[in-house]
């Protein structure tokens, strides 16, 4: 198997042992991109020239002091196109940002650059990260590397697919209601959404500020832990970023789960779960038990209201966050002599259907006369949901459940917005409570990957990764590759 279809850890070791150079890794990434991306559609903007310079730089750093270099030094990465990198086009998957070149680099991306990362491009996503299939990209849909007739999940579908298709060993995505974990599950890779406040949101084009969080995709939990270590930590530019010290997940990663109490949330195993998914997840629970963990059924009674809560709060915040796309300082504009008409035309044409739908919903929920019934009520239910998680975590160390109720579904299968919203029913409560969550492969159903979700208390990111790593090492699902990768082996 190629390096770019493998793990970060393997590439890092080979770079130090002289088995491969950053330039060779980059060349591999480019070759794989050119071979498969016409079919997958994972990348919106390619940055090969920048990558060449970064690879040369990484080469120098690895030669001068290989010990001091970060494990990410010289390794190719792709960034979801909602993350700003100075001078590189950033579209957020939207027409309205066509031509926008941010004059600054966001914090998480800067930390990767500082570590010596080699950025090959910006990945396709649902417009402004709103969606669960990446079909809402204004440019083109992304296809699942396991089955190109199916979606990769979303909204970070391009970042998940780029890893699953072997273009890069890791990538960055963002998760507002499941947008890292759900595509990770559908693409058969590991995806990690850290605790809200752990990774700076500075430079992340906001969808819903109180829910958004940046995180990695990779083939292994260990790789995700390495990337998390590089990007996590306090940032004075993001007032919601936590000033508390970040625990090093590598220290406890291999600690195992013997004696741990794992909670199985009753409400997450309801009717919506596909039989194949249920089978795989229940088998995973038996494996965890076999490794010495105690399984406890727990109840999160307000889970049924989480979707409604999310679809008030996220659209409300998005309606405000997206007001800046007005055709004046950046991005697309439909010219008109009269200002009002310019606003209406620019925003009417520049935004896609789902974004407009959510702006309408959020504007309505905040508008005079409806605020109390919708927004204020949703904020209160949010409190209840967070308290129910906290109560569960008094009894158990972590929660385990499915990531997505279904495996990857065919493109254009979900035209009705509500049915699409249900894709995130198992992931969005985690965002409402600001918890860390990992999705990792736990088997196959009908030839398609199934994801297991591990949820931990706030700031127990290392614990979530530790449970996930233990399961992964015990089962080996992480070694499975999509046909697009196998073909290069």
């Amino acid at each position: 198997m190629s390096f770019t279809g493998g793990t970060v850890a393997a590439s890092a070791a080979a770079l130090r042992e002289g088995g491969v150079s950053p330039q060779e890794l980059l060349a591999e990434a480019r070759a794989q991109f050119e071979r498969v991306d016409a079919e997958v559609g994972a990348v919106l903007t390619q940055t090969w020239e920048l990558a060449e310079r970064q690879a040369a730089d990484a080469q120098r750093r690895l030669r001068e002091d290989p010990g001091a270099a970060s494990p990410l030094c010289g390794i190719p990465v792709a960034l979801k196109d909602v993350l700003c990198l100075e001078g590189v086009a950033c579209t957020a998957g939207s027409r309205i940002l066509e031509g926008f070149h941010p004059p600054y680099t966001g914090t998480a991306v800067q930390r990767l650059l500082d570590a010596g990362a080699v950025v090959i491009g910006k990945t396709n996503c649902d417009e402004f990260a709103m969606g669960s299939s990446t079909e809402n990209s204004a440019y083109r849909p992304v296809r699942n590397p396991w089955d190109r007739s199916r979606v990769p999940g979303g909204s970070s579908g391009g970042s998940a697919a780029a890893v699953a298709a072997g273009m890069v060993p890791y990538s960055l995505g963002t998760d507002t209601g499941g947008s890292i974990r759900q595509p990770a599950a559908l693409c058969g890779v590991v995806g990690f959404k850290p605790t809200y406040g752990r990774v700076s949101r500075y430079g992340l084009i906001a969808f819903a500020s109180s829910l958004d969080q940046i995180g990695p995709f990779a083939h292994t939990v260990e790789d995700c832990a390495l990337v998390y270590s590089a990007i996590a930590g306090h940032d004075p530019r993001d007032s919601t970023s936590s000033p508390t010290a970040v625990e090093d997940p590598m220290e406890t990663l291999r600690g195992g789960i013997a004696g741990m109490r794992l909670g199985v949330p009753h409400e997450y195993f309801g009717e919506g779960l596909e039989p194949g998914v249920r089978r795989a997840v229940e088998e995973a629970l038996r494996v965890l038990e076999g490794m010495g963990a105690t399984l406890d059924e727990v109840s999160l009674p307000s889970t049924g209201a989480a979707l409604s809560t999310y679809y008030i709060i996220a659209p409300a915040e998005c309606s405000s966050n997206l007001a800046r796309y007005d055709g004046i300082r950046f991005g697309m504009r439909k010219e008109h002599d009269a200002l009002l008409q310019m606003y209406l035309d620019t925003r009417g044409c520049g935004f896609g259907a789902e974004v407009k739908r959510r702006i309408m919903l959020g504007t309505y929920a905040l508008s005079s006369g409806y605020y109390d019934a919708y927004y204020r009520k949703a904020q209160k239910v949010r409190t209840v949901i967070a308290e129910e998680f906290a109560a569960a975590f008094e009894r158990v160390d972590a929660l385990v459940c499915a990531t997505s109720p279904t495996v990857a579904f065919p493109l254009a299968a979900r035209e009705d917005p509500l049915s699409m919203y249900l894709c995130d029913v198992l992931t969005l409560p985690v965002n409402l409570a600001g918890l860390p969550g990992v999705s990792l492969p736990c088997g196959m159903a009908d030839g398609l990957p199934v994801g297991l979700q591990v949820i931990a208390p706030r700031f127990q990111d290392a614990r979530a990764l530790r449970v996930a790593h233990a399961y992964e090492q015990a089962t080996g699902w992480h070694r499975a590759r999509s046909p697009l990768v196998e073909a290069t082996a």
């Binding site: 941010p102 004059p103 500075y202 430079g203 084009i205 906001a206 004046i328 950046f330």
Partner: protein, 497 residues
């Protein structure tokens, strides 16, 4: 428009009923911080080339986030304590959503239901009478950018132009209770509010450049009614004069509408200086709905009592209290005390001059007379003049000690104000010391009598005033150095007066 409206009284007549105006003022004051409210750009944007004072944050670029400027919070707390407000322990920022080209994010970060402070009051004076106006709230927000409309700045402009230099400058909103009844009260309230803000060093009080801006809500109602009439909001008043005139105009306009049996719509009107009238800013109203909600990018503020108390402790003596103390301590009148405390610098200067031993009354007369005139003439405050505060004190001490005469002091003041120098050295060097020795003046007295025979005759005939021309002769010959009182006495003795 005629002035049936207020002059001294707050009574209006509508037909045979007595009415009264109700005025509430809303002031927006920029804070004198170094940097903007939520980013590191300079808050001193005046005079900067267009769009040269911006960054990704204040341009509202995608992905950027605000970070609160601590000093702006402290300045607002300082203002709140100076205005006797309650400061709740918990406060937060909210987003006020609306579209306008000078508002980059499409929302203004402001405060809605939990402002930084509320329920205070400001004491002020109208015609020597003390008044008090309630303060509803003082909250913190960010300023918008600046719009220029066709023709404003560039001949070629065919549309509107946006300059973001002012975007995000810290802005305090001070909402007053509708406690004011006349344009005079409104003007004095503003003068005193501005004075307080400048005293505590949070605002530079520049109405022209817009660092201190005022909108008014005006309605009229039958006297004795406790219900408010239909509120009309008045904007675009860029001077105290404009506030006074606009309110006078608007009150009379409303009175006439009611008198003619008309109804007043709730509306916003702009003061148009060239027409000396308020004009309806009729806009296709899409019923403003600001959709306020808590700003998710900013954690709330918890202002501990210790912080508030520290800021309260650092508060300087406020103008009203200071004027009262000057009256008490130095026996000054209301008027003089008011003028000498109009700015903190003026009051500091006065007190430091007096502290050197100069008489309080003398110092007041000179500062409000010649010094004020020179400051105006040179467009330069005393502190920055060649003379300086210490120089003024030295000069006045020479005068008080009798070393120089009043007219020499006056001449020297003008010269030193412009050129600088040490008053005592100059007196010594030029021999300007006062001649107060009767012997030395004796021959000049003789000369005066010899050359002024008509004046001598007039004086002897009982015309007291005639003596002045004889005194003037001696003063002229001594270039003002003679002790005028002594000359007067010597002349009378000689003429047997």
């Amino acid at each position: 428009m005629s002035s049936t409206a207020t002059h001294g009284t707050d009574t209006l007549r509508v037909g045979d009923r007595e009415y009264q105006a109700v005025i509430g003022l809303e002031v927006h004051a920029q804070l004198l911080t170094r940097s903007k409210m939520f980013c590191g750009c300079s808050a001193a944007y005046v005079g900067a080339p267009p769009n040269s004072n911006t960054c990704p944050v204040c341009l509202g670029l995608p992905g950027t986030l605000p970070v609160i400027n601590r000093q702006a919070v402290e300045y607002t707390v300082r203002t709140a304590v100076a205005l006797n407000c309650e400061i709740p322990e918990f406060t937060k920022f909210d987003r006020k959503n609306y579209f306008y080209p000078d508002l980059p994010k499409g929302y203004q970060i402001s405060q809605y239901d939990l402002p930084l402070s509320r329920r205070g009051w400001l004491q002020f004076h109208v015609d020597g009478e003390q008044r008090r106006c309630g303060i509803t709230r003082v909250h913190l927000e960010e300023d918008t950018g600046t719009m220029y409309h066709a023709g404003d700045v560039l001949q070629s402009a065919t549309s509107s132009l946006v300059d973001c230099n002012r975007c995000g400058v810290p802005l305090m909103e001070i909402v007053g209770e509708p406690d004011l009844r006349t344009p005079e009260e409104a003007r004095e309230y503003l003068i005193w509010l501005r004075r307080v803000l400048m005293y505590i060093g949070v605002n530079d009080g520049n109405l022209e450049q817009g660092s201190f801006r005022c909108d008014a809500n005006v309605s009229i109602r039958p006297r004795g009614s406790d219900q408010l009439g239909v509120k009309v909001e008045i904007k675009n008043m860029n001077s105290f004069r404009a506030v006074h005139h606009a309110l006078g105009y608007e009150i009379e306009r409303q009175r006439q509408v009611l008198e003619q049996g008309g109804a007043l719509p709730q509306e916003t009107r702009g003061w148009v200086e060239t027409q000396q009238a308020t004009v309806s800013q009729r806009s296709k109203e899409y019923a403003h709905d600001y959709r306020y909600f808590p700003e998710p990018d900013l954690p709330p503020l918890q202002l501990e009592a210790a912080l508030v108390e520290r800021i309260r402790g650092e508060l300087p003596e406020l103008p009203d209290a200071r004027a009262a103390r000057l009256r008490r301590q130095h026996g000054l009148g209301d008027y003089d005390a008011g003028l000498l405390t109009a700015t903190r610098e003026e009051a500091d200067t006065y007190e430091s001059v007096v502290a050197t031993g100069v008489g309080a009354k003398l110092a007041a007369n000179w500062m409000l007379g010649d010094v004020a005139r020179l400051a105006n003439e040179h467009r330069l405050p005393l502190q920055q003049s060649g003379l300086g505060v210490a120089g003024l004190a030295a000069l006045l001490r020479l005068l008080e000690a009798g070393t120089i005469s009043g007219s020499v002091a006056k001449e020297l003041l003008a010269e030193l104000y412009r050129d600088g120098g040490d008053p005592a050295a100059l007196v010594e060097q030029r021999g300007l010391g006062q001649v107060s020795d009767a012997g030395a003046l004796s021959s000049l007295i003789d000369e005066a009598i010899a050359q002024g025979s008509k004046a001598v005759a007039d004086f002897r005939a009982g015309k007291e005033a005639a003596l002045q021309s004889l005194v003037g002769y001696v003063m002229k010959q001594t270039r003002g150095r003679a002790d005028a009182q002594l000359v007067n006495r010597l002349l009378r003795e000689r003429l047997g007066g």
